[in-house]
Subunit: 198 residues, 4 copies
């Protein structure tokens, strides 16, 4: 008697997740090219062949991870758009970034990898200079809303701080004084401090 549709679905999901988890970890650690299908299979405790039951190719795996990552970024940003107060928005972005980065280091390492090398082609549509600019423009709007004197410059500074912190969190691991720095930055973008920049 064959398994039910449902049982098969569950098995498939479990294996797929297992493959994605191992891949994410290894890609983040050793890069896309530095990770072999064998490595993934070993880590996921399955056979090499099975991977191709779930993904068309090694590239397809990294694409799946990448899409997931973009979705997550989207989901992270959404609640922020609903906030009204500029200061709150900025602080929330800082908090989310710190939280997200420290909780998903592998994802972000992979993200950096994606930006550094156009290996699995396809991504350029998103990970390109224009994509960044859009972010900067959104930040600039927030600072404009806040009525500060140099919204554009502050936006770029803000973005630099965010990305710089991310890097430090990724590379320094537990040595990074996360809470302390976060609080310092949060204060920097508090209503009180923003007012001084008007």
């Amino acid at each position: 008697m064959p398994r039910t549709e449902e049982q098969f679905h569950e098995i498939r999901e479990r294996s797929k997740t297992q493959i994605l988890n191992s891949s994410l970890k290894l890609f983040a650690e050793k890069g896309f090219k530095g990770t072999s299908i064998s490595d993934i299979a070993k880590d996921a405790k399955i056979s090499k062949g099975l991977i191709y039951n779930y993904f068309e190719s090694k590239t397809a795996i990294v694409e799946a991870i990448y899409l997931h990552l973009l979705n997550e970024m989207q989901r992270m940003m959404e609640p922020i758009y609903e906030l009204k107060d500029p200061s709150e928005k900025l602080q929330r972005i800082v908090m989310d970034t710190v939280k997200y980065t420290s909780e998903n280091k592998d994802y972000w390492k992979l993200y950096l990898n994606f930006m550094l090398q156009p290996s699995p082609v396809k991504f350029e549509e998103v990970l390109n200079p224009k994509f960044f600019q859009k972010f900067f423009l959104e930040f600039e709007e927030i600072f404009t809303d806040a009525g500060v004197k140099e919204p554009k410059n502050m936006a770029y500074e803000f973005a630099a701080i965010l990305d710089g912190m991310q890097m430090h969190i990724l590379f320094m691991d537990n040595l990074y004084p996360l809470k302390e720095i976060q609080n310092y930055i949060l204060n920097k973008y508090s209503k009180k401090e923003l007012k001084k920049k008007k």
Copy 2:
């Protein structure tokens, strides 16, 4: 007519430099694993075999580049130590970083690569969390010298801004408003502004 010692030496240096230049460019573009010896030979317009006359292995090439990079960083930092005024020091670091990054994008992309992946092993002695911490401590000293209230936090913020800017310069290429942002940051660490933080 046999060539003189000197001529040999010159040829050697020229070829070696050519190999290093091509390697740097390609590693930065496609990563270490993504670049083949063939690629390098083609770009350097020499034969594959010749590369092994100058370098023991592909790894040896990347190590040479890496050491060169570290030296450059050292050389960049040296004149800074001779400066006395904290503000001048910080401003000089900012200027040098911007200058250096925008003029040597390939180096810095490769540097990021090194940090992201421990491919050609050996580097861990330098590119590790402790290495970063040392930088942060040096920055902290400068801010302490400047007599600001929260030297540690400001040091981390400073480092974040530097690294964040670097990333943006690397990834946004000509779209990045280099001068504008640099000036803004320079002003942020001017004597006048620093005084406000005391």
Copy 3:
């Protein structure tokens, strides 16, 4: 309600036939090696696993088809032996060959495949030079019966025409002027024409 023996038998036969049909089609189209068990399962709208319920291996499938093919050839030839008149025999062979070929192109393509490559070993006992020779000898006998001057040569010519036509029917598909050529050839082996060769 348990199925009756008969029902089981029927199911078995139906599935088996389905597998054989799909296999024949695909083997003819893409060759034995070029057809995967997956392909067959998909075409037969059953699961890969089920195929192994009916056949021990991929090779066993092709063997089954092959045996079926030989039987058909046999069955096709039998009524011919009962004919007495040489001309009638030859004409009947021509007609049957044309009919059979155009109605079972897949079988004949596969047959050619078998001859071209000894992939699934076993067949050599039949599809070998000697096997052909036997055919030629039988043809020669017919021509001898007909009393023609060069029975052996005519037998070889006859065989060549048959096999050549087969190839053309297979490869030219509907572009081949089947009826026209058949009539021409039939006339060539009519009593009247054969008499001229005496």
Copy 4:
């Protein structure tokens, strides 16, 4: 001191030929899919890797062989166009076909393979029904020139005899009474015999 351009060229040609020879033999014997790169390397007494120094892929090898084959066919047909007398033309075609087939069995086996399966795609432009029709039309013209009664039918018969003989030569190897049959067929298309068909 490196080898001269010329030396390299010679080495390359030798290896390439070696690979093509082995490939042709094996493809003819076991089919394209049935022959592995390992098989070819072993037969050519070189390493697997080297094959890719000369051909981009397994498919590229078969394409090279195929193009060579088409060229040869072309070259074989050319001198025939210069003959004026229809009988001479037909006889020459018969002789060339027999000669060419028996001397290059592997090529023709492969050719049949190509027609049977569209494996390495690309070829359809040539090996298709229309391609055959063109041949038939050319034959028809010759028979029309000869002034026979049914030029089209005779053209198709002629083509069938040619292809049928080819098959028999290929499959019966030395058992085939080559000379005998050839002479019989040659006589069939002699001026004297053709005259009878007017």
